[in-house]
C-alpha cells in the first residue's frame, strides 16, 4: 500500500492521509475514517492506521483526516454549530477524493463521536454506500434495564464482601507517602454524549436501508451502562426492517477505546470481513432512490 498526505477544504486547511492499494479495483468505495473526540487522525492507539492499512491491502482506498479544529486541520472561523461544520468537513473530504481519485462511493467509519458524525453525514449524502458505526447511539430496552439491575444486585453482594478488604487497602495506601495523592486523584470524567430521539433515528435508518446503504454497527463492552447485550440495537428498533443490510457485532471483551491488542485485532478483522463481504466482489449497489 502507498500513503500520501492530502490537503483540502476551502483554503487547504484540512489535513489527512490516503492509504491506497497497489492496484485499485474499479468501482470500489473509498473508506473515510473520522476522528473520535479530539484524538487526531491516527485514532486511539493508532487503530485508524491499522484499519486503513488493512482495508487498503484488501483493495479499498482509505482516508484518515482531521475534522476542522481537530488534530492538524485548521479551525473554521464561521459561526456554524460544531455538528454542521463537521458534516461540511466530511462532505469536503468526499468531494476531494471524488475529484482527485475518481471514486464515486464511500464508506464512512467512526468510533463514538466519529460514529455519530458518520451516521449524520450518511443520511445527507447519497454517495455513502456503507457505514461502520462503533459504539454508536444506544437506546435502553426492557432487557437492557433488567440486565443492568441484575448486575447492580450482583455488584452489591460482592461489594459487601469486598468492602472490608477495600477499607483495609485504602487505609494502607493513606498511610503510605504517596497515599494522599493517590486517594485524592480525580476520577476520570464520564463521557457525555447526547443522542437524538429514538424515533428520529429510526426514520433515518429506514431512509438509509431504502437507499441500499450497508450498515455495520459494532458495540464494545465499554458501554455496559448503555449497551449490555448483543441484540440490544435490534430490540431498540423493532419498527425498522433492516432487510439484511445490518451487520451487528458485539465485542464484550473490548473496552470503548480498544486498549488490548487482542481487541484491536478483533475489531480490524470484523471491519475487514464486513467490507469484503459487502463491497469486495461487486461495485457498490446503485441507490434505490435518487
Amino acid at each position: 500500500v502507498r500513503e500520501r498526505p492530502l490537503q483540502f477544504g476551502d483554503s487547504g486547511g484540512m489535513l489527512g492521509l490516503v492509504t491506497e492499494p497497489e492496484r485499485a479495483a474499479a468501482g470500489r468505495p473509498a473508506v473515510l475514517i473520522l476522528n473520535s473526540g479530539l484524538v487526531h487522525r491516527i485514532g486511539t492507539f493508532r487503530n485508524s492506521v491499522k484499519i486503513a492499512r488493512r482495508l487498503a491491502t484488501d483493495g479499498f482506498p482509505a482516508v484518515r483526516f482531521d475534522l476542522s479544529g481537530v488534530g492538524d486541520s485548521e479551525p473554521r472561523r464561521d459561526a456554524v454549530r460544531f455538528e454542521e461544520r463537521w458534516l461540511g468537513d466530511v462532505r469536503a473530504a468526499m468531494d476531494h477524493v471524488e475529484r482527485t481519485r475518481g471514486v464515486r462511493w464511500f464508506v464512512l467509519m467512526g468510533l463514538c463521536s466519529g460514529a455519530d458524525n458518520a451516521f449524520r453525514a450518511a443520511c445527507r449524502d447519497e454517495r455513502v454506500a456503507g457505514v461502520v458505526l462503533m459504539d454508536w447511539y444506544t437506546y435502553p430496552t426492557l432487557r437492557f434495564r433488567f440486565l443492568r439491575q441484575w448486575a447492580r444486585i450482583r455488584q452489591l453482594r460482592s461489594w459487601r464482601r469486598g468492602a472490608a478488604r477495600l477499607f483495609r487497602s485504602a487505609a494502607r495506601r493513606l498511610r503510605g507517602p504517596a497515599g494522599l495523592a493517590a486517594a485524592t486523584q480525580e476520577a476520570p470524567a464520564p463521557y457525555v454524549r447526547e443522542f437524538p430521539p429514538r424515533d428520529e433515528v429510526a426514520a433515518d435508518l429506514r431512509v438509509l436501508v431504502a437507499r441500499g446503504v450497508h450498515l455495520c454497527v459494532i458495540y464494545s463492552g465499554g458501554m455496559l451502562d448503555a449497551y449490555n447485550y448483543r441484540e440490544q440495537l435490534l430490540d431498540a428498533f423493532p419498527d425498522v426492517d433492516f432487510q439484511g443490510r445490518l451487520n451487528l457485532e458485539y465485542l464484550p471483551d473490548a473496552d470503548h477505546i480498544y486498549t488490548e491488542l487482542a481487541s484491536q485485532r478483533a475489531l480490524v478483522e470484523a471491519i475487514a470481513r464486513w467490507t469484503g463481504r459487502c463491497f469486495g466482489t461487486a461495485p457498490a449497489p446503485a441507490p434505490a432512490t435518487r
Partner: protein
C-alpha cells in the same frame, strides 16, 4: 504547513513542516521529538501549538512520527529506540535541507528527550536540546506505565496481557532498550546548550537538577499525559509551552 513523507522510500517517515512566519527567519531550525505510544497521541495538540508558536517567532520547525508510530510507515511492533534515534537524525537532515538552516535545536518530550540525548553525540549541528519532562530512568518509566496499564485494566476487572503496554505492543527489543536507558549515564556532549524542563520534583528530577545545574527550569503545573481522558479532553499546557519556546529564544 506542509505534510510530507521523507527518508527511506521503502520505509517513509511522515512529518509536518512549519515554515517560519516571520522574516528574517532564524538560522536554527527546530525538530520536535515525540514521546512514546499513548503519550504521543495526548501530546499531539501541544506539539502542534508549540510548532505554530515557534513559526510566529521566526523558526522553521518539523514535527514527525518515528518509524512504526503515528502516520509513518511500519507496524507498532517494529519500533525500537535505536531506530528512533536514527529517525531523529534523518528528520534533522530533512529540516536542514528543506528550510536551508545550518543548525538544529531539538525539543524532546518524555521519551523524546531520551531519543534526543542518545542521538545528540553524533550531531555537530545541534544547538539547543530541550529535555521536556524527560524520562530519566527507563526502568522506572516502564514501571510507571505498567502500573498505569494495570490500573486501567483493573477498572474493567481484567489483568494486563504480557507484551503490551497501554494499547501498544512492547516488543522485547524495545523493552530491553528502555530498561537499559539512564539519562544521566548517557554519553555526552549533547547540545551546545541543554535545558531541562520538569513539572514534577521526584528523585529522578532532583538527580537531574544537580547534574544539569543552571539550565534546569521547573513549571508549576503537572501534566497528565496518561490516556485516562484521551477522547474527551485536549491537552495544551500553556505554561510549559511558553517555557519551552523561551528556552529556544522565542520569547
Amino acid at each position: 504547513v506542509t505534510p510530507f513523507h521523507f527518508g527511506d522510500s521503502r520505509r517513509p517517515l511522515f512529518g509536518i513542516y512549519h515554515p517560519a512566519q516571520r522574516s528574517p527567519a532564524r538560522d536554527t531550525g527546530v525538530v520536535l521529538l515525540n514521546p512514546l505510544g499513548h503519550e504521543a497521541i495526548r501530546a499531539h495538540r501541544a506539539l502542534r501549538q508549540l510548532a505554530l508558536r515557534l513559526a510566529d517567532a521566526g523558526f522553521h520547525s518539523l514535527r514527525f512520527d518515528y518509524y512504526g508510530t503515528g502516520d509513518s510507515a511500519g507496524d507498532c511492533a517494529e519500533g525500537t529506540l535505536c531506530r528512533w534515534v536514527q529517525d531523529a537524525g534523518t528528520a534533522s537532515d530533512e529540516l536542514r535541507d528543506t528550510a536551508g538552516v545550518a543548525k538544529v535545536s531539538w525539543v524532546g518530550l518524555k521519551l523524546g528527550a531520551a531519543v534526543g540525548v542518545l542521538a545528540a553525540p553524533a550531531r555537530r549541528d545541534l544547538d539547543t536540546l530541550v529535555l521536556w519532562e524527560p524520562v530519566v530512568s527507563g526502568r522506572a518509566y516502564l514501571d510507571e506505565l505498567r502500573a498505569l496499564h494495570a490500573e486501567v485494566l483493573a477498572r474493567q476487572g481484567r489483568s494486563s496481557p504480557p507484551g503490551e503496554i497501554l494499547g501498544f505492543p512492547l516488543p522485547d527489543t524495545l523493552r530491553a532498550e528502555l530498561e537499559a536507558f539512564d539519562l544521566l549515564a548517557a554519553p555526552r556532549p549533547w547540545g551546545r546548550r541543554n535545558v531541562v524542563l520538569a513539572s514534577q520534583e521526584g528523585p529522578h528530577e532532583l538527580r537531574l537538577r544537580e547534574n544539569v545545574g543552571s539550565s534546569y527550569r521547573s513549571v508549576s503545573s503537572t501534566v497528565d499525559w496518561s490516556p485516562r481522558r484521551s477522547l474527551s479532553a485536549g491537552l495544551v499546557p500553556m505554561e510549559a509551552l511558553s517555557v519551552v519556546a523561551a528556552s529556544l529564544g522565542a520569547a
